[in-house]
């Protein structure tokens, strides 16, 4: 029987929203305060949802320790207390929460094989959240 398991993590990072494809005045118009050249930061909350059959012998979709280790190693250690603009993941894209959501989903998709990565949900602040399920409709 298939179940969906969601784990919530926290990290803090800074970013600056600036697109090399736009002139300076357009960057200011589009990104406003987020275009400040020195950047600014957020406390992000990250929800990772994985799915799969509940394994009879363990009662689990996957061992929580495996998921925690992977997220810790591949995501939190790389992003927590970092400037996102400096990461190779954002060499060619703007580190908006939309793009961050996609980057995190793709890290899971590539490297996490203990269960099926279903969805990433990212809260940038208490007011904004973003969800990405690899292009599929997000399941409610």
């Amino acid at each position: 029987m298939k179940a969906h398991l969601t784990r919530r993590y926290h990290f803090s990072a800074s970013h600056r929203l600036h697109s090399a494809e736009m002139p300076a005045d357009e960057n200011v118009a589009v990104y406003g305060k987020c275009n400040n050249p020195y950047g600014h930061g957020h406390n992000y909350a990250l929800e990772v949802t994985v799915s799969g059959p509940v394994v009879k012998s363990t009662g689990m979709v996957c061992n929580l320790a495996d998921l925690d280790d992977f997220v810790q190693r591949e995501i939190l250690q790389r992003m927590d207390i970092q400037n996102l603009n400096m990461l190779p993941d954002f060499a060619a894209t703007v580190p908006t929460s939309e793009n961050l959501c996609v980057v995190i989903y793709e890290i899971l998709q590539r490297g996490f094989h203990h269960a099926h990565p279903e969805k990433v949900r990212l809260e940038e602040t208490m007011m904004n959240s973003f969800e990405y399920a690899g292009g599929k409709e997000v399941r409610r």
């Binding site: 029987m1 298939k2 179940a3 969906h4 993590y9 012998s57 363990t58 009662g59 689990m60 399941r139």
Partner: protein, 141 residues
């Protein structure tokens, strides 16, 4: 289609152990959760039902009936219990959050009359929850 979610809370204790595993395997796979004396959580349950709005009542489901069903079928059985010892299905199933969500679904499903069960979500802590959408839910639609 309208979706309606009702929340409830219960507190229970459990431990994780598979009698077919060696003590070492049990310890390696389940870690601290393998302690046979058990430990507890404050669980939060969210039950989501779906259906069309009844034109006379304006309801998808009689909330009172849903509330009572959750009370009799789930909370009375699980709240303030040692799941492994006091809840029949967990004499054999390991009472993980996954199996709790499945068990709650199976307790509610046959008792709900008007609305269709859509999702059972069980929070073990604020940072860990499981969703179950039914036995024949395969793809992520």
């Amino acid at each position: 289609m309208i979706y309606l979610t009702r929340k409830a809370e219960f507190s229970a204790s459990h431990y994780y152990h598979n009698p077919n595993f060696t003590p070492e395997e049990n310890h390696r796979i389940f870690g601290k959760c393998n302690n046979p004396n058990g430990h507890g959580h404050n669980y939060t349950l969210e039950v989501t039902v779906k259906g069309e709005v009844d034109s006379r009542s304006g309801f998808v489901v009689d909330l009172k009936q849903l509330k009572e069903t959750m009370h009799f079928e789930v909370l009375d059985a699980l709240d303030h219990r040692f799941l492994n010892k006091e809840v029949p299905e967990f004499r054999t199933l390991i009472p993980t959050t996954e199996n709790l969500a499945i068990s709650i679904w199976q307790r509610l499903k046959p008792k709900l009359k008007t609305a269709q069960l859509h999702r059972v979500r069980v929070y073990e802590t604020a940072d860990l929850f499981v969703d179950f959408y039914g036995e024949d839910s395969q793809d992520s639609e």
